[in-house]
Symmetry: C2
Subunit: 283 residues, 2 copies
């Protein structure tokens, strides 16, 4: 299998969250086509067990490979944390980029005191993937991971910038106020692709002395570097088309996803696909 | 197929929410055994499309029938709204009771002015199942259905009785304050089995002049009547055992579910089962 520069970049996520990565990618690589698959029939991955997440990811990625992609972005933090190694083997030689490693790298570059706070979903926190990735780059780093499941619901409700979001962020992060200043982290990673929609509420609760690292933007930068290194960047004649696919609920995907993509799209723009035949209704 | 009084009552839900129904059932029918199946691998149903929910429900219910139940409670509002007729056909002659009809009946009895507010998930609201069930009993009733997805996340986070829950309820329900008193509902149905955990926050936001109908308790009463009518109530020698099964994540199920059941249980108390083989990890 050889990859071609004019093939699309594949993005896979459990739902609409990865559209924040698609948004960042399109800003950075406007000539590259993107094929997006949201496995919305099985979302959220963040509360499922590792075996389920690995199985879902393999099915979803198989679907993308059949359509011909030059690089895969695993835009779901949970799947990146749980299934990335497996996916690299499954896809070789197609390069695979998760959201965890680029986020960890940016955090290590941003932090002065080597203390990190990771805000993520339950599953991502359970496997401590960010801690491992950060400590691979800075063995002395101290990392605290915090599950913030309610942020996901607020992002999907379109309540990212409301008093509820601020109250929620305040509740999750109030422990920071009780820490001695010398022990406080100086860097916080948004370790879930939904969380950029609450950036302002989270920033207020963190305070001005903690830098926010957004894994969506850092991932887009990692994709750019990888494609450049492999001479697979799209030519300037490329249109930068975005094709959207989902496994469930085009209406909801469009209604909620538009805020994540930063651009309005309609249910008619989404190809519905069934990647798990056994989940289809029994005839 | 003949049902026996000493067989368990089957309860099916997408996750832990139906444990509020199991709790109400056990209080009312302490001698009856209960077999509970939470399809946690595919939760939440509330944001999935009808075809997916119908398929999930048929698989889950097939698993319960194989184990021998005398009555099925569809404790998931979404599945009750979308799949109840199908399930009645699939299970006949085993009686099937959903949460929608008992809740609607109690609401019609509780309301004086015939104006109802239903708080539910997106899918339940989309199909307007409560509106249909209420208007079947009171053709002149006026029903407003409101999707409150964030309540689910708060219940699962154990934040049912926090300032975030009150802020969230206040935001969802602030439109009530803008209504002329004569147009306000006098009855609100908790149309999702998660919502009883936010009962106090929801009650504060509704105000004292709106009666809350909890579909968990009303469903337990409906089960009692049905079993009595069919002479299928368990004998007084029955132990009232509760057997818990889930399709994913015993740790999470136990941690979150204990609050719903009103009784502490551990992951070891849960039988993990795979009702959808194709969702298992690819070998």
């Amino acid at each position: 299998m050889t990859m071609q520069a004019n093939q699309p970049i594949g993005i896979f996520d459990s739902g609409v969250g990865g559209l924040t990565v698609a948004h960042a990618l399109h800003s950075l690589l406007p000539h590259d086509d993107v094929l997006y698959l949201g496995d919305s029939a099985r979302l959220p991955y963040g509360t499922k067990c590792p075996a389920s997440v690995e199985g879902y990811a393999r099915h979803a990625v198989g679907w993308l490979i059949e359509r011909g992609i030059k690089l895969l972005v695993v835009a779901c933090n949970t799947a990146s944390a749980l299934a990335l190694d497996d996916l690299c083997v499954q896809l070789a030689p197609i390069p695979v980029i998760g959201v965890v490693e680029p986020g960890a790298r940016a955090a290590v570059e941003a932090s002065v005191n080597g203390r990190h706070l990771v805000l993520a979903t339950e599953s991502t926190v359970r496997v401590q993937a960010y801690t491992a990735a950060i400590q691979q780059l800075d063995a002395a780093a101290q990392v605290e991971e915090l599950a913030c499941s309610v942020f996901v619901a607020l992002a999907e409700e379109g309540w990212g910038d409301t008093s509820v979001a601020r109250e929620t962020a305040g509740r999750y992060l109030r422990f920071l106020k009780l820490m001695p200043p010398a022990e406080r982290p100086d860097c916080a990673i948004l370790g879930c692709t939904h969380f950029p929609l609450l950036r302002s509420a989270i920033g207020d609760a963190l305070g001005a002395d903690i830098t926010i690292v957004d894994s969506a933007t850092t991932t887009a930068t990692a994709v750019q570097s990888a494609l450049k290194g492999l001479s697979l960047l799209a030519p300037e004649s490329g249109h930068g088309d975005l094709r959207l696919s989902a496994t469930d609920g085009a209406d909801r995907f469009a209604r909620i996803g538009s805020a994540f993509l930063g651009k309005k799209f309609s249910p008619a723009d989404i190809e519905l696909t069934d990647i798990h035949p056994a989940d289809a209704p029994v005839p």
